[in-house]
C-alpha cells in the first residue's frame, strides 16, 4: 500500500521538506486560502484566475528574441515586422486565454468513499455562462484530464480519481483548472478548493481470518429457532409431527392431540470487537474492516465495539458504511467535527458522501476489495 505524498492535505504538511520551504509554502497557501476560500462552487473571474506564459510560451519568447537578432543584423524590415507581429500575437493571446477561462463555473460534488491508498472519485462539473470555453483541463496530483470544451447550456462532468492517503477524511484540497487555448503560449489557471470530502476507510487486512472464530456470542438480544433444548409451549398437533413430541398427558386430560414445542436459544449477533483484534491501532482497524466486510457478506447481524464507542448490530449497506466510517474516524483528532459536518451535509444534500454511497446500487469499493 502506497501512501501518496499529498501537498494539500494539511495533516501531512509538516512531515515533508525542509523548514524554510515549508514556511514559504505555508505562506503561499495561507494567502491562497484568503484569496480563494474553499467553496462548493466557484465562478472564475479576474479575482481567482492566474495567468503566466507556459513553457512553450517562454520558448516562443526566446525564439522571438532570436528573430529580433536576425532582424537587427540583416537590417531586414520584413523580419522586424514579423517579430512585432509574433510579439503582438503573444500579447493578444494573453487576453484570449484569460477570456477563455473567465466566466467558467466549477462545482464540486463530494466524493465516494474509498479504502486507504485507493482512489476516491470526486465529480466536478464545469459549466459555461455565455461563451464556449475551449480546451479546459483539470489537474490534480500530477494527473491531467483530456482537454474539454465547455459550451453554454451543456455541463461537462469530469470525474477526478484522487489517490487517497491513510484512513480518515480525504480532502483533495485545491484542484487546478487550466487552459492554454488558443495558442498554448500562455496558461491561465486557478487553484480552487471545492470543499469536497470523502471518507477513507482503513485498508482491510485480508489475513485477519474470519470474524466468527474470534468474536464472542452475546446473550443480549436473541433469535428463536426450533430446537430440542428448552420447552417453549404447546400447539395443536399437525400430522407429521413426531410422535415423541406429542404431549400425551394433555391428550389424557382433554382428549386432544397437542405437540410440545422446544426451542434452542442461539445468539447469532456478531460483535466485531477491538479486543479480538491484535497489534497496533491501525492493524486492529484493518482487521476489523476485513471482518466487517466478511460479516456483511454473511447472514448475521453485526455490531462494532471500540474502546469508548459501540455500534449496535444490524445489517445492510448503510450499516456497513457507518461502521466503516467509525473505523475510519477512530481516534482521529478532528473526527468529531468531521462526523458532525458529514451528518449536516447528509441532511442538507442527499448526494453528499454518505448519502450518495448509501443510495448507490453498485458499491464501488466492494469491487476493489474482492
Amino acid at each position: 500500500m502506497r501512501i501518496p505524498s499529498d501537498l494539500y492535505q494539511k495533516r501531512y504538511r509538516d512531515r515533508r521538506g525542509r523548514r524554510g520551504r515549508i514556511g514559504w509554502q505555508q505562506k503561499w497557501r495561507a494567502w491562497l486560502d484568503r484569496r480563494i476560500p474553499a467553496a462548493h462552487e466557484h465562478h472564475l473571474s479576474h479575482r481567482n484566475i492566474f495567468i503566466f506564459p507556459s513553457r512553450a510560451g517562454l520558448v516562443y519568447a526566446a525564439f522571438i528574441g532570436m528573430l529580433l537578432l536576425v532582424a537587427i543584423n540583416f537590417e531586414n524590415s520584413a523580419v522586424y515586422a514579423l517579430v512585432f507581429l509574433l510579439s503582438g500575437m503573444l500579447v493578444v493571446s494573453i487576453l484570449h486565454t484569460f477570456a477563455n477561462l473567465s466566466g467558467l463555473q466549477i462545482t464540486g460534488r463530494s466524493g465516494e468513499s474509498a479504502f486507504a491508498g485507493r482512489h476516491a472519485v470526486f465529480k466536478i462539473i464545469l459549466s459555461a455562462q455565455e461563451r464556449v470555453h475551449y480546451g479546459v483541463q483539470l489537474s490534480w496530483q500530477e494527473v491531467s484530464t483530456e482537454h474539454v470544451d465547455v459550451e453554454p447550456g451543456a455541463e461537462q462532468r469530469l470525474s477526478m480519481r484522487f489517490r487517497t492517503g491513510p484512513r480518515g477524511i480525504c480532502n483533495p484540497g485545491r484542484v487546478k483548472i487550466q487552459t492554454s487555448y488558443p495558442l498554448g503560449l500562455v496558461t491561465a489557471w486557478t487553484w480552487v478548493d471545492l470543499d469536497m470530502h470523502a471518507v477513507v476507510y482503513p485498508y482491510p487486512d485480508k489475513n485477519a481470518g474470519s470474524p466468527a472464530a474470534r468474536s464472542a456470542y452475546h446473550e443480549s438480544g436473541s433469535r428463536e429457532q426450533t430446537g430440542s433444548d428448552d420447552f417453549f409451549g404447546l400447539r395443536a398437533y399437525v400430522p407429521g409431527d413426531s410422535l415423541r413430541s406429542v404431549a400425551w398427558k394433555t391428550y389424557a386430560r382433554n382428549d386432544q392431540l397437542a405437540s410440545k414445542q422446544f426451542v434452542d436459544y442461539i445468539d447469532n449477533r456478531l460483535w466485531l470487537e477491538w479486543n479480538a483484534a491484535h497489534g497496533s491501532d491501525e492493524q486492529r482497524l484493518a482487521q476489523l474492516c476485513h471482518w466487517a466486510l466478511l460479516a456483511e457478506g454473511g447472514h448475521h447481524e453485526y455490531g462494532l465495539q471500540l474502546p469508548g464507542e459501540q455500534l449496535s448490530p444490524s445489517r445492510g449497506r448503510r450499516h456497513l458504511e457507518e461502521l466503516l466510517t467509525r473505523l475510519a474516524m477512530f481516534r482521529l483528532p478532528d473526527a468529531q467535527s468531521v462526523v458532525m459536518q458529514n451528518t449536516a451535509e447528509q441532511d442538507a444534500a442527499p448526494q453528499s458522501a454518505a448519502g450518495q454511497v448509501g443510495n448507490d446500487t453498485t458499491p464501488p469499493n466492494a469491487v476493489e476489495f474482492s
Binding site: R55, A56, V59, Y60, F63, L67, L69, V70, I72, N73, F74, E75, N76, S77, A78, V79, Y80, A81, L82, F84, L85, L86, S87, G88, M89, V91, V92, S93, L95, H96, F98, A99, S102, G103, Q129, E130, R131, V132, Y134, G135, Q137, V143, S144, T145, E146, H147, V148, D149, P152, T179, S180, Y181, P182, L183, G184
Partner: protein, 673 residues
Amino acid sequence: MSTASQIPRNSIIWLLLAQLVVILPHTGRMSWWMIAIWLLCALWRMAMFRGEASYPGRAVRGVLVMLGSIGVAVSFGSVGGLDFAVALLILAFSLKLIEVRTRRDMFLVFNLALFIVAASFLFSQSVFLALYQIGSIVLIFTAMVATQHALHNRAPLLSLRKSLRLVAQAVPVMLLFFLVFPRIPPIWSVPTSGGGAGTGMSDSIEPGDIAKLNQSSKLAFVVEFESTRPPSIEMYWRGITLEDFDGRKWSAADSAVSVGDRSRREELTEQIELYGVPLRYTLIVEPTKKNWLFALPVAQLQTDADRAGMKGIFYTADYNLRKRTPLSERSELKVESYLDYRADWTLSQQARKNNLRLPRRSNPRARSLAQQMYARTGSTEQFVLAMQRYFLEKDFFYTLEPPELGRHTVDEFVFDTRKGYCEHYANAFAFMLRAAGVPARVVVGYQGGEVNPHNNTLSVRQLDAHAWLEYWQAGEGWLRLDPTYTVAPERINFGLEGALARRPELGASRLSPLYLRNLAMIKSVRLRLDAINHSWQRWVVNFDASQQRRVFERLMGSADPWKLGLIVAGVLGAMLALLSFIILRPGAKDTRSPEHKLYRRFCRKMQKRLQLRRGKAETPLAFAARIAAQAPQCAEQADAITRQYMQIAYAGESGLKQFKRSVERFRPRRPAS
C-alpha cells in the same frame, strides 16, 4: 503517453497545409530531393493519421537525418552560408513531422515554421511575398489553435477563424512596434543574402554590351523628385566614365577611383563650379552587387545627416557617387544635383594624356578621317558639329540588332555597316575625337526612365542603360555629347520603349518582352503594381533610423525621447484597453439565435422601405400593432411574421424554415397613394 498530451487530428492536417505553404517560396533554392523528403514525411504522417503506419524507429530517423544532412552539405557546398542554413532548417522541419507525438512537440515545429518564414524575407522583401507570408502565418497559428482544442473537436474551421482574429488583433500592436522600436545597427556582420550576381552595368563596355543589358526590364533604381521633374533629354544618369581604350573595349581607369577617394565632394577638386538651384530627389537603388551609384551630374548627398547615415559613400574624381562595398541591399539616398555646372576647365598633363591615348595601329581609316575633318574645321566646336553632320548625312542607322564587328570596330562601323546601337556611336565618336586631338571619354549610365503616374516616381530599368561621351574643351571643361541623339532623337526624347513603339523597324523581335510590357492593359496593371511595390519599399522595407526620426518629427514636432516614450505608452495602453474590451466583452460572439437574426432582418426591411423603425424597448407585438396602424397595407404579413417569431422564440416551436421563407419573401409595400 496519456491522452492529455495527444495531438488532435485537425491540428496535423493544418500543420501539413502550413508546411506546404511555408516551404513553397523556398523551392527555388532547394533541391528536388528535399521536397521529396518532405513529401515522404507528409505521406508517412498521413498514413499514421489513418492508422496504417506507426512512428518510425530510432534507426530509421537516424538514417534519414544523416542522409539529409549529407545531402544538404553536398548540395549547398559552403557550410555556413544562408542557403545552407535555410536548407538545414527545412530538412529538420520536414523530418520533425514524423517525430511529433505530443502537443508539446508541436511547438518546436511551429517555431521552425516561423523561422523558415523569416528566412524567406532574407532573400526577398517584396510586398507580394509579405502578403503571402501573412497567409502562412495565419495557417501556422491555425495549426497551433487546433492543437489546443479538445482531442475530438470536429470543427476545423473554428481554428482558422480564431487564428484570423488573433492575427488581425495583433496587427495594430505590430504597426506600433514597427514604428517606434529603435533601429539598432547590426551587432555582428552576417553573410549577405544569396541570389547570384546582380544584373547591371559593368565598368567596361564592348560593342553589344549595352544592347544585351537592354534586354532586361529589371529595375535599376527608382527616383522620387521633390520638385518638378526635368525633361527626359536632361536625364542622363551618370555612373562610370571610361577612359582606357584598347581598340575594342572601353574600361574605367583606376586613377578615377583612387584619386577621388574622398567623403566630401568639396575636397575633391577646386575645378568645379555649380550654378543655379539644385534639383533634389531621392534615389532608391536596387541591390546590384556593384559599387556604382547613378545620379544626374553633378550630384552630392543632400544633408550632413545623410552623409553620416550613408556611410561608405564617396565622391570620385570624375564627380560620380560610389559606394565602398557592393550594394547588397536596396538602399535609399537623398541627393541634390546641379545640372548646370562647369568642371575641370584646365586639364592636367596626365589627364590630358590619358584622355587622348589610343592604341597605335587601330582603326586607321577612322583616324585619318577624323584628322582630315579637324584640319578642315579648325576648332573643337566646329569639329564636333561637323562630325554630327557627317553621321546624319551618311545615313547611319540606329538599331538594337547591329551586325557583329571585327577587329577595327570603329572603321567597320563608320565605313561599312553604319548600323549601331548607342555604344557603337559613343565608341566611334570618342575614338574620332581622340584621333583629332580632343580629349574624350565614354560615359555609361542610364538615360530617361519611366514615369509612374500613380505615384509620380521615375523607374529606371536596365533597358534604359545608355552610353554617351564627354569631350573636353579648353575653358569649358567636360561637355556631354550624345551621338545617339543625333542619329535617333526619339530614343532620347521618348526612351527606348517609346522609340520602339514609334519605329517598330528598329527591329527588336527578340525584345518581345518589351512589347508585352507596353500592351495597354498590362502596362496599366504593371504600373499600379510598381506603385504599390514602390510605396512598400519606401515606407516599409527602407524604414530605418533616419526615416523613423523623420516620421516622429512630422507627427509630433520633435523626437524628444521623453515625449516619445509618453506618447508610445499612451498609445499602447489605449490599444491594449481597446483589445481587452473587444476580447473580454461578455458574449462577444454572435450567439443570437437564427430566428432573432431573421426577425432583425424583417425590421431592417421595414425601416428601409417604409421608414418604420422599431424602438429600442418596443416589443415585437407592439411593433406589429404600430405597423398595423401606420402601414395597414402590410399589416397582415407583418402580423404573421411577428406571430411566427414569437412562437419560435418564446414557445419553442419549430418551423424555422417556414419563418425564414416568409421573412425572405416579405416585401413591404408602399402605401397606395
